[in-house]
Assembly symmetry: C2
Homo-oligomer: 336 residues x 2
DNA sequence: TGTATATTTGCACACGTTTGTACATAAAGA
DNA sequence: TCTTTATGTACAAACGTGTGCAAATATACA
């Protein structure tokens, strides 16, 4: 664990000034070719690595982009992370992922770390407990570009890449209605989050349009698990009017429902239809395979990064609103 | 997008020296209480954030730990990430995740970024294309603590948290043999990686012990997908001696196999037994539910972080080998 | 009042890098 | 030979923060 080698060390060793070394390393034309070669050879030989803290202290931005997600182990987010990492790498950026764990305090800490470390930019989807956007606004204050995707703070002037949750949930509900289902339930997350609110509105409005009087919306603030899904179905089937179709925001919840339906000897889709948001692989190995709403993670990732990069290169101003809608689509399978 | 506020700005505004502000912000006892309160109030008011680049330039380490994984959207890794993030947060650290995408060049770039930015430490699982450990050794050179988990470079002196892949695969193979399966195949990744090599050895040795002559090992270097799994089974069933059991390293592969088995009207587990590494949720919603080998991600995450933290706090020296084995366990379900 | 001690603040330098400017040397032109 | 220009290198200051040391002020004690 020797001391880190610096340009001054190199300079001393080669009997030149450290400014010459600095220029040589960055291929500045004002340095003699032989000097440059000598410096580069020495640097390579001794594994010199720029100290970015010193560089950034002078105001130069780095190439690391922070990505904040509520949960890394949700298919939707992990797919986006994966695509985003690749897209960014091709443009010369490194993606660094942070998980807020649906926790407000952690989200704030993450943002503070990002500001303190001077990241080049931030792509974020907020936690379900986030109601205040002060910490995100701070990014703008410090001149760090920010792009929201999926879940966002609606009071912020910044680019947003969103899914057309309202339209697709409307469409899904209508699809179930047209299939003859009478009592459609809707399971989703806290509706102060745009995503869940849009889905709720799509669901409700479709019911209204078709004059359905049965409306059963469950807004869950707990962690979505298979167990919770089982319990949900138990509760639902305990009521007077039992649903014959469920649109759900969570794959885990829906898996639990499907497992519990077997226990109840409910046939899917005859007795109970299921539609779920997401591309979880489990949905296609189940029997019957679940009808899902796919949210085109590729497109979201590409769009979000494209917008961020434009802000980093100052091609686009920071702190200016702009919303891109990405179309989700229903993947018709066997559960309806 | 105003200029970033610094301690000098605060000092000028409050008519004190910036060193006093610096001390006040870090609760140095050598500063008057009233002065400190004044400074803290002003800092809070104006959203002052320390510039870590300046701090780190002076040799102080930060609290950000880098986590490198080959693929974020593999259940094994995303579970570890999730647990690790929480464990680290409780100890006051922030985890920043990087995906190498099973690509050597990206892995090298990530390490270089980590060195340049002076992260506090690194927890890593190497890509399947990594055969040279020079970049990881560089971390030690620069005094950055490193802990490997799961996949590692065996020529490196550094703590490693590994799964007892040899023993558990031996056990799984033996289990199949005792169940009466005659022709057991093994599907895994490139065996220059310790994980896959250990599994192969466990498999082979169990066969030898029980004098089984049928041995079919497939070492795949492509990306594991459901499609590839389907193709695998097609190929396997095309041979003269068709396997009646498969131990596989990949959930996706095995899902493909299971789906293809249906096409072939092969009954699971009667005609074909399946055991797969991992905790993917898909394995428990399938019918039949798959017997899996669970690798206790919690324990791996906790151990890895514990070791890293000790190195960060210099409680443990950097660059000293030590290997912790974590016990995997077979979760017996319906596919055998 | 004067001296000793405790408390608080200011000063100056360092960390590693970049960059504008000045200096030195070499080549070219008169 | 002397100026002019081109080329290469050195110098010094700056980025924001932390810290040893000196200075200043306040408090205690004789």
């Amino acid at each position: 664990m020797q001391k880190r080698i610096t340009i001054k060390d190199i300079a001393k060793e080669l009997n030149v000034h450290h400014s010459t070394v600095s220029r040589a390393l960055r291929n500045d034309p004002r340095v003699n070719e032989s000097t440059r070669d000598m410096v580069l050879a020495y640097a390579r030989e001794h594994d010199y690595q720029t100290n970015m803290n010193a560089v950034q202290l002078r105001g130069v931005t780095n190439n690391t982009v922070a990505l904040i997600v509520p949960n890394i182990n949700h298919t939707f987010f992990s797919d986006i992370i994966s695509h985003l990492t690749n897209a960014a790498y091709e443009s010369g950026y490194i993606i660094s992922v942070f998980q807020s764990n649906e926790d407000f305090a952690q989200e704030v800490d993450i943002i503070n770390t990002i500001i303190k470390q001077n990241y080049a930019g931030v792509i974020a989807s907020i936690s379900s407990r986030t109601t205040d956007s002060k910490h995100f606004k701070l990014l703008n204050t410090f001149g760090i570009p920010l792009v929201f995707f999926d879940r966002m703070c609606d009071d912020m002037q910044t680019p947003k890449v969103l899914v057309n949750n309202y339209e697709i949930t409307f469409e899904a509900t209508e699809y179930l209605i047209n299939k003859g289902y009478e009592r459609i339930a809707h399971l989703t997350g806290p509706t102060h989050i745009n995503v869940f609110n849009d889905r709720l509105r799509g669901y409700t409005n479709a019911l209204v349009k078709h004059k359905h009087t049965f409306e059963l919306n469950m807004e869950l603030d707990e962690e979505f698990t298979i167990e919770l899904g089982k319990q949900c179905l138990i509760n639902l089937m305990d009521a007077n009017e039992k649903p014959d179709a469920i649109i759900s925001s969570s794959t885990l919840l829906t898996m639990g429902i499907a497992l519990q339906a077997r226990e109840f000897n409910l046939r899917i889709p005859e007795d109970l239809a299921l539609i779920v948001f997401g591309n979880h692989l489990g949905t296609i190995v189940m029997q019957p395979q679940l009808t899902t709403i796919s949210q085109s993670e590729y497109e979201i990732a590409d769009l979000a990064f494209e917008l961020l990069e434009k802000m980093i290169t100052r091609e686009m101003p920071i702190g200016e609103a702009c919303t891109k809608l990405v179309n989700a689509q229903i993947i018709y399978r066997e559960s309806c």
